[in-house]
């Protein structure tokens, strides 16, 4: 049975909302995290299929462009995609780095920050960032806000779509579909604490195996993410199909959406008030009666002098 898409009681952050979301139910819900251990991925794409199946997504059958990535990018109905990278290491050996690309569920989500529609993007107490299509207006601001290039706007309904971390399944105590389908245990799901612990164990293991730079990808620039990677080469995440090294909400988005906006809104209000109070004090700009008389007298004189001329 499919669960509720949204548990309204446990929304802790809400797009375009000035007042605080419920805060008192603190500690009631443990935050969750999905761990993607890139070193164990065999690129079978079972997770992709499971995602499509659970979420009722059927992307168009594309064309082979000579690589394993299929589809080649995220779309409104492909919420995750395996990205295959052929990497030559220092020893000159080939490493096949396969990264499952999907929403990272940032603790400080850029999409939520940028979204102008109240409640169209929410963050639950468990850390999942979800799009509420009901409130989505299709402006595409979330795309500009996201540091990972994840949201996609549908051509059919102009609404934004992305991985929900199977918020409906998680709400009912199940793991996300991709996690359930993974045959190698490359994708794990649990409480944040457990997953960070597990990631640590895996990293240590990889280091023992000679991957000196193995590490956890849990970028702090966005407050950490609820989807974390174990990478063999955590020192250069870019080789995993341009995974950003230090992702953060773009300063342009911060400047666009941050403090200046409420200030500008106040300034607009003040400008209108300034006009009103100027009128109260200085009064209207009028022509005086004397001026009027003067002009008319001038005119008459002019006309008379013209008439007198032969």
């Amino acid at each position: 049975m499919r669960g509720d898409q949204i548990n309204l009681q446990n929304i802790v952050k809400r797009s375009a909302t000035q007042v605080p979301s419920p805060q008192e139910r603190d500690d009631g819900v443990e935050t969750v995290t999905k761990l993607i251990d890139v070193s164990r991925c065999i690129g079978c794409k079972a997770c992709q299929v499971a995602c499509s199946e659970w979420n009722n997504l059927r992307d168009e059958v594309g064309e082979c462009v000579g690589e394993y990535d299929n589809p080649t990018d995220l779309t409104p109905n492909t919420w995750q995609v395996m990205r295959f990278n052929e990497h030559e290491n220092e020893q000159g050996n080939l490493e096949w780095l396969i990264r499952k690309d999907n929403c990272m569920h940032c603790a400080e989500p850029g999409c939520l920050e940028a979204c102008p529609a109240p409640g169209a993007i929410v963050q639950y107490a468990n850390g999942i960032v979800d799009f509420n299509s009901e409130h989505c207006i299709g402006c595409g601001y979330c795309v500009a806000g996201c540091p990972f290039d994840v949201p996609r706007i549908s051509k059919k309904d102009s609404k934004a779509y992305k991985c929900t971390l199977c918020s409906d399944r998680v709400y009912h105590g199940l793991e996300p579909a991709c996690v359930k389908s993974c045959p190698t245990g490359s994708i794990m799901f649990g409480t944040r604490e457990d997953m960070l612990d597990l990631a640590e164990t895996r990293t240590d293991f990889l280091k023992e195996r000679g991957f000196e730079n193995a590490g956890i990808y849990n970028p702090q620039g966005v407050g950490g993410t609820h989807v974390i990677y174990v990478l063999q080469h955590a020192d250069e995440p870019e080789i995993y199909n341009d995974l950003p090294k230090d992702p953060r909400i773009s300063p342009l988005v911060e400047a666009w959406k941050g403090i200046p906006k409420p200030l500008a809104s106040v300034a607009i209000g003040l400008a209108a008030f300034a006009g009103f109070f100027h009128y109260l004090t200085a009064g209207p700009k009028e022509t005086s009666e004397e001026e009027e008389e003067e002009v008319h007298a001038d005119e008459e004189r002019d006309q008379q002098s013209e008439e007198k001329r032969p």
């Binding site: 109240p118 102009s158 773009s250 342009l252 607009i268 700009k285 022509t287 001026e291 008439e307």
Partner: protein, 235 residues
């Protein structure tokens, strides 16, 4: 003889804005206000309820760019027609320096100005700057038409630019509207097209003199003709 009243029907005054200018101005004014009302909710959630004026949030998002295109079209026409009268002259600089006198209604201390004063010219030039910027940045973030094809940094820059250029334009608009309320006779001028002669002399003396010169010439041109045609002395 009773003294002529400034707005009496017997005094047609001077034509300040012909019908085309007035229609053009009000098409822009109405669409600009609609743009502000539909754009502010996307600017800050404080204004979200304004989406109700346009048939809901999604409709607001859909309509806003089209209203923008409509306004830009008519703005281009007005910008061309008003170009010459908006060139900034030396006396405009002096006028701006005395902005305190302007605001405190000490108009007798101000230098005489042409058809438009420096404030009106500034509105013109700020809008000439803002409207093309708003058009370009707006196109770059227009969903679903162009935005997807635009590199992400440029989209962010455009979204940022659109918001703050709009802010500048809105502040300018507020000042512009207030001036129309504050300076008695200017609102009527944009509605009916005409101003009284004393009004013209008071607010735009150089323009008034120009217009009077024109009238005088016209009278002189018509005088001999009148005499030739009728053989009578003009009254």
């Amino acid at each position: 003889m009773s003294k002529p009243k400034p707005h009496a029907k017997s005094d047609p005054g001077i034509l300040r804005y012909d019908a085309l200018s007035r229609i053009n101005h009000w098409l822009i004014a109405i669409s600009f206000v609609m743009l502000v009302l539909s754009g502010l909710p996307l600017f800050h959630p404080f204004f979200w309820s304004l989406t109700g004026l346009f048939g809901g949030p999604t409709m607001t998002r859909i309509l806003h760019p089209y209203i923008g295109l409509f306004m830009t079209l008519f703005f281009v026409i007005m910008a061309i027609r008003f170009f010459k009268v908006s060139l900034i002259k030396r006396h405009d600089i002096q006028w701006l320096k005395q902005i305190k006198d302007v605001l405190s209604n000490h108009d007798e201390r101000l230098p005489p100005v042409g058809k438009n004063n420096a404030g009106q010219k500034l509105v013109y030039w700020i809008m000439v700057l803002c409207v093309p910027l708003l058009l370009v940045t707006g196109l770059l973030i227009w969903q679903p038409y162009f935005a997807d094809a635009i590199p992400i940094t440029l989209r962010r820059l455009a979204a940022f630019g659109h918001a703050y250029v709009a802010f500048l334009a809105i502040i300018t608009l507020i000042i512009h509207i207030y001036s129309g309320i504050w300076v008695k006779g200017s609102f009527t001028a944009m509605i009916r097209g005409r101003v009284s002669k004393p009004w013209a002399k008071h607010h735009h003396d150089l323009w008034y003199e120009e217009e009077m010169e024109k009238e005088r010439k016209e009278r002189e041109m018509s005088k001999p003709q009148h005499q030739i045609m009728t053989g009578e002395e003009p009254k």
